[in-house]
Each structure stands twice: as C-alpha cells, then as structure tokens.
Amino acid sequence: MSDETLTTPGVAPPPTETELDARLALQRTWWRDAGPLRWLREVDHKAIGLRVVFTALTFFLLAGILAALMRTQLARPEHGILGPDRYDQVFTVHGTTMMFLFAVPVMMGLGLYFVPLMVGTRNIAYPRLCAYAYFVYLIGSLFLWISLLTNTGPDVGWFAYTPLSGPEYGIGKRPDVWAQTITFTEISMMAFAVSIIVTIFKQRAPGMSLNRMPMFVWTMLVTSFMVLFAMTTIATASIFLASDRLVGTHFFNPAEGGDPLLWQHLFWYFGHPEVYIIFLPGTGMVSLLVTAFARRELFGYTALVLATIATGFLGYGVWVHHMFATGLPQLGESFFTGSSLLITIPNGLQIFCWLATLWSGKLRVRAPLLFVFGFFFILVRGGLTGVMVASVAFDLQVHDTFFIVAHLHDVLIGGAVFPLLGAILFWWPKWTGRLTSERLGRASFWLIFLGENLTFVPMYVLGLRGMPRRQYTYLAASGWGPFNLLASAGAALLALGVLVYLANLVVSTRAGAPAGDDPWDADTLDWATSSPPPAYNFLRIPVVQGRYALWSRTADAPVVTGLALDRREVLVTSTLDATPQLRYELPGPTIWPFLAALGTGVTWIFGVFTPWGIVVGLALTGPALVAWGWPRRRRATEVRA
C-alpha cells in the first residue's frame, strides 16, 4: 500500500439488500436503548471501554496537575507554595491516582474496547459485570478526589506504610479514604479482568487458535491474570488495614503481636506485579504499532508470548527488592537480587525482537511510531537503572531517593504512557472515524519526549547527591536547587506537550480527514469493521486464517453464519483451537448494575465512618443483585442469519 492511500477513505462495495436487512436487524438488537437512563443502562463493551479510558485519562490529567504543583513547590529551596500537610496529600493522591485510577484502568478500558474486536466477537463476556465495575471505579475515584478537595485527602503515601497509616499515627479519616479507594478499584479491576479472560478464552473467532492471537490480546490475557492475583493480595492488605483502623484489630500492631513488615510484604507482593500490570499492555501496544508501521510480521512471536508469560510469573518473585533497607537476612536479599535480574532476560528479549522487526521492515514513520521510539529511549534507561537497583549494596544508597523517582517514572512513562499515547493516536481513527493531525502529533511527541527527559534525568543526579523522596522542601545549602529547577522546567515542557496532544485529539475529532475502516493497513480484526464500529461489531463473524488476520485473509474467506439476528448471541469457541462450540446469548441493557454499584459505594464510603455502613450498604446492594440476576422469559421465535 502506498502512502497516499493512508489518507484516502476505504471504499467498500455497495451492500446487497439481504446484507442491509441483516445490518438493520443486528442494529435493532445490539443498539443501546434510547431511554433517559441510557447512559446508566449501557452494556456495550465499546461504550464502557471508552468510558473507562476517558475517565482514566481525566484522572491522568488531574494527577498531572498535582505533579505540576509538586514541581512548582520543589522548583526552589524553601518554597512556600505547598506546606507539608498539603504536599503530603498531593504526592499521595498523585501516586494513588496514577497507579490505581489511571494506569491500570486505562489498560483495562482499552482491553474492554479492543479485545472483543480483535478476537472477533460482538460483546465482552459478562457485559453487566463490566457496567457495574465501571460505576464502582467511578464512585471510588470521586471519593478520593472529593476527599482531596475537602482537605481530607490521604497523606501517608501511595504505599501507606504502617504504623504511619495505622490507627495511632494516621489520624482522622485520611488513611481510611486511601484504603477504601483501593478497595473500589480492586473490585472493578478484578471484574474487568475476569471478563477479559473469559472473552479471550471462549469468544475468539473460529480459526484464531491461541498461537494466532495478536500480541496485544496476549498481553491483556497475562495482565488480567496478574490483576486477579495482585488485586486479591492488596484487597487482603487494605482490609487488614481498614479493620486495624476501624474495628481495632492488630494485624500491624507490634504491641499485640502484629507486624508492620507484614504490611510491606503484602503491599509489595501486589505493588511490584502492579508495575508489570501497567507495563505489559504497553508492550502489547508496541507490538501492534511495530507490526503496523514496519509492515511485517513480528520477529519472534513465540518468544514474545513466552516472554510475556514469563514476566507475568516472575513479576511475583521480586517484591523484596523494595524492602532491602528493612534489614532482612542477607542471603534472602541475594535471592531477590537474582530474581530481579532474571526478569530482565524476558524484557531484554522483547526489546531485541522489536528491534529485529523494525530492522527488517519497511518503515513508515508516523506520529504513533515516534512514541514507540520514545518508548525505547526512555524505557530502556528505566530498565537499566532498574538493573542497577537490583543490586543490594547500590540500592541501599539510592533507595527512597530521587534516583528511584527518576527510575520509576522512566519505566512507567516510557514503558506505559508512551505506548499508550502512540496507541491512542493509532486507534483514534477507529473510535472517531477521523485521522489525527500528523503535524500536531509530531509536535506533541517532541515536547513530551524532551519534557520527560529534562524532568527525570536531573533526578538521577539529585538522588546520587543525597536528596530523599517525599520531602516537601529542601534547604538552600543543599545545592539541590538548580537540578530541581531544571526538572521543574522539564515538567512544564511535558505539560505543554500533553496540551498539544489533547488539542490534536479535539481538533481532529471535529475536522480530521475521514479515516475509513483501516487507515494504517493494519493486521488485526478491529480494522475489519467500520470506524467507529457498529454496535454489533461485525456483520458476520470472520473465520481467521492466520496469525495476522487481515494480512492473511483471502478474497473468499469463510464467515460464520447462523447467529441470531434478534438476540444478543455470540459464538463460543474452544479455548485452545477456537473451534465453534455453541451459541450463547449475552444479556442486554439494564439499570441494576448501576444500582448495585451505588449500593457498593454506600457500603465502602459509609463503612469508613461507621460499621453500620456495611449493613446499610449490603441492604441496598443485595436487592439490586437479586433483580440483576432475575431470570427472564425467553421469546419463542428465532431469526437467524
């Protein structure tokens, strides 16, 4: 395909009359209902997915504003913009928002939107559960932010170490707000993860055996499993903490046989996998973009899949490297040095495979691909500084300093945000039907790229020069001023880049060139349907003939027939080979997930103030769940296509 065709909308052959009838029937069946409560009843995976993505991006911007506040405060020694009380709330809510309300949800939201499209099905498994999960996530997020705006935001760090967050030192309700926000996101992310796993295992189009799944789907699969195990751990921890604080248990109270280190083990057993939960979908996006813009198959697909799975497992074996300074036995620490170095091997392998793919491709350098280049530049630096801190002795020098701040931001911004920004530009045509501006895309890339480097590279130096993290100010005599000023200037550049990026999205949605179905000549099934996709995703479920579904599709490719037109039927296929097994009807729109989410919100929010909140909340949630699951009478007639 030549470059000109990129901007020319795809021309589809005129539809036949039966096809039109089928489209109308499917539209009636799958379209959201029109009532005033439409938004609350919605169960379409695309609508919910976009909702999650845009809510998460909103929190990304809000947490970015907090970052800007911190950089303003730290730009000069003894600056008076934020006092210690406000600063502690700001950095706690920044970290909590970025990790729990932005990074994991945005990846899950993209999974909700794209996994059903990429595997060729009409909706996510458990659509009502996903609707419920969105509202739970929204309520929990608002709870945290309303707390911050009313000066009761948590102030004990996103890691909430006991005893600082415990009943004796974490005064007021601030740490409770943190613990309950975490509970909200645990519930919703686990619900999304279960839906994504089942969709991937049971709803793939015929022919899409496991070894033909797009890398992005693989990464979402591994990520979702990681969410299940990581979130249950932090659920245990946050419930222990909440009960220590609210009902007087002693899980973390040494005076009664509890142990503050228990908290750290539980937290980091979740906390380190969390990094990979955020990073792996980023690698999936890199694989997608590299394939599309290098115009060739991924080199080392099997290796990439195995590396992803290996990362998923190894990610659970490295948590103690966050605790080297706690005085654990030295041999044990060496074990975790080994495991932390070990996880570099699959990560390195992924980098090498992408480089090989790029090398032998025919590159079209477009704005989304620039973000992939930025990913290499920044993530590899973050990964290598990660190798440095895997060493116990070196880590003890830089642990809890700005060196680590720089390292973790390089990993998370380079490894997740850059691929995300690239992928959003890549996918925007699919969501809106319009191409984004290449010029604005490039401008935003350079601003964000330069801003990131200018912000975080000086922080490595600050860490080595002895500046600890999480301090609201520093003395002028420290000499840290110039490097901090540089970092703050970088943050301003970064913020400007994000604004240009947003402007690009807004402008292109109104005035962008029409995109057509597949403006990038990409290979995954999401590009086989119109942009934006119809409510039912595909008129006919395709039969997949190769690993790169659209590139290997022949002109006479078979399609699935026999799914009902008047019911929300999807095809269930076998887990390994995706051979058809049965037709399955998914539920339609309903208000009950929303009401159940409200009940859940009452449970956790009022539970902060009185144990009776749990009782009242359950009394509200219970009936909503019963009504949600109430069986309906089945219609007798069937229409099939």
Binding site: A325, S334, G338, L363, A390, L464, S478
Partner: protein, 324 residues
C-alpha cells in the same frame, strides 16, 4: 567547616569516606558503566534499524533474514544473561565484603540511634551504666574505628542514611536493626531520614562528626559531665525560667530536675552545630526563634510555641547556649 554552608558536592553517594560507601560505589561504577554501554548500544541499534528500514524498498521476510535475526537476537540474549550473572556475583561479593567490614571489628563503638518524629536520639552505650549519655541529631565518631549503630524507632518507620558513609537502614518498630559505619577521613557528614515518616520528614536531618580519637575522647568526657551550672545572673535566671516552665515535661538537662524523655536531651545543647534536627545553625537568634515558635520552622513538629517575656526568652537562650 560550616556544616550548614554549601554542602553540595560533598553530601553525595559519589564521594565515599568510609569502606561501606566506597565498596558500594566501586561495584556501583562497574554496573553503571556496563549499563551505560548497553544503553548506548541499544540506541545505536535502534537508530541504525530506523535508517535501514526507512530506506528499504519492501519488508525483508526470507528465511535468510530470519536466520540472521535468530543469530543476532540469540547473541544479544546470551550477552544479557552473561552480564546479569556477572552482576549477580558482583553484588553477592560486595554484600559479603560489606558484612565482613563490621564482623571483623575488634573494638566497635556501639551507639543506639532512636528515630522520633522528627529528630534523632543518640545514646552512647557503655558497659558502665553511669558512663552512658544521650545527645540528639549529632553523632560524633572517632576516625578509623568501626561503629555499630543499633537502630530503633519509637513511633513510625524512619530510615538512617549518611550517603558519604554507608547505605541506608530502616528503623522499624519493634525491631532493632544494625548498621556498621567507619569514617576514614575527619569531617562533618550530613545524614537524613530517607523513609517518609509524616509532616516533617523533609526536616529530619543529622550530622555525623568524624574526628581524631583524641578529640573524640575529649568530646565524650565532656558529654558525660552534667549540664554546666549557670555562672552569671542572666543564665541563672534562664535556668529558673526553664525549670519553671513546660520545657521540663519533654527535655532532660542532666544535673537539674529536668528529666523529660519526649524531646531531645539538652544537657549539652549549646555545643551542637545545629538546631531542630539539622535544619538551623545553632545561633542565639535561631535558638530564640525556635523556642518561641517551632511551628514556623517545622510546621507539625511536636514542640509547642512558648510564650515568654522577651527578658525571660533571652535568659533561657543564654542559659541553653551556655550548656556547652
């Protein structure tokens, strides 16, 4: 040397003055060097790949390309594994070497450091109970002699860190952690709390003063003596005000009825270089300001403002400054 002058460049991981920090950095430089080389190599390959693939007429897909990729990627993974194994052994032997620095010590000096929100209590242990003494936010050690720090916390988790001397170690209730130090050059080295511990985590500093053994012995002898008795009317008045106010609920001055255990021991406060945990130079003006309104310097600190008549305040300052 003025401890609160410009400490940039001296307060650094990169300027070790003891065997712990030195060994850490000599291993650290190897790791940093190798990682930097790997980083440059990856970026160079990325740049070459971009150049190569932009000029390509079509994607290369043949079995020959594949075989070449397998060889190159395989070699890169192999190199990664070799480098990581080297790092693992380097780390293991570095950690073992660091442990031996302490274990080989024949006559270590034992100091108990207790973290409080937001200051450091420093108690010098001795077999004779009468020879023990306490100070705050300033740790004097003899040059060349290994020091064993027993680290405790009375409230939340803190972390003890002197970048020039050694890596950090957390103070976690109810545990006793141990950190070994040795300073090989005399000097004043800054330390700071490295684990977030609440409102004034940022202003929880301390100084490690490494001095020749004779000077250290003289310092110890002085610290073991009770607080100096007031010699003139102003300091006598100051002592009376101090002992008659709320100060004694929290502070100790050995040799007087003041024996509060909540705040820093003030027996020799006049001889310390800093006030408020390494934050203010110990001048009379700063001392007066600190006593009158600690919240201005460290909002959230546990010390309340003290409303004293100017004459009383000046007298208290004179008295405390005389406690050399």
């Amino acid at each position: 040397m003025n401890p609160l002058g410009d400490w940039f460049g001296r307060h650094s991981v990169l300027d070790p003055v003891g065997p712990h920090a030195a060994r850490t950095m000599s291993a650290g430089w190897i790791v940093i060097g190798v990682c930097a080389a790997v980083y440059v190599a990856v970026l160079v390959v990325l740049a070459l790949a971009i150049r190569h693939a932009r000029r390509a007429a079509a994607p290369e897909r043949g079995p020959e390309t594949h075989r070449r990729h397998v060889r190159v990627v395989g070699a890169a993974v192999g190199a990664t594994i070799v480098i990581l194994f080297a790092f693992l052994f380097l780390d293991f032997f570095t950690s073992r070497g660091l442990a031996e620095v302490g274990a080989g010590a024949s006559r270590p000096l034992t100091i108990v450091v207790t973290g409080h929100q937001w200051w450091w209590q420093v108690t010098y242990e001795d077999t004779a109970v009468s020879a023990r003494f306490s100070t705050a936010n300033e740790i004097h050690i003899p040059v060349g002699r290994p020091v064993m720090l027993k680290l405790l916390s009375r409230d939340v988790i803190h972390s003890f860190w002197v970048p020039n001397l050694a890596g950090k170690r957390d103070l976690i209730p109810p545990y006793t952690n141990v950190l070994w130090l040795r300073a090989d050059r005399p000097g004043i080295y800054r330390g700071q709390c490295a684990e977030f511990c609440g409102l004034q985590h940022a202003k929880m500093d301390f100084l490690v003063v490494a001095e020749p053994p004779e000077r250290f012995a003289a310092w110890v002898a002085n610290q073991r003596s009770p607080g100096r008795s007031p010699a003139d009317p102003v300091t006598r008045h100051g002592q009376a005000v101090f002992l008659g106010s709320a100060c004694i609920l929290c502070h100790t001055i050995v040799g007087t009825p003041a024996n509060g255990r909540v705040g820093p021991d003030l027996t020799h406060v006049g001889g310390r270089a800093t006030l408020a945990a390494g934050v203010l130079p110990n001048t009379r003006g700063n001392l007066a300001g600190w006593i009158a309104d600690p919240q201005r310097v460290k909002p959230g600190a546990k010390m309340p403002p003290n409303i004293l008549a100017p004459r009383d305040l000046q007298a208290v300052v004179a008295y405390l400054a005389s406690l050399q």
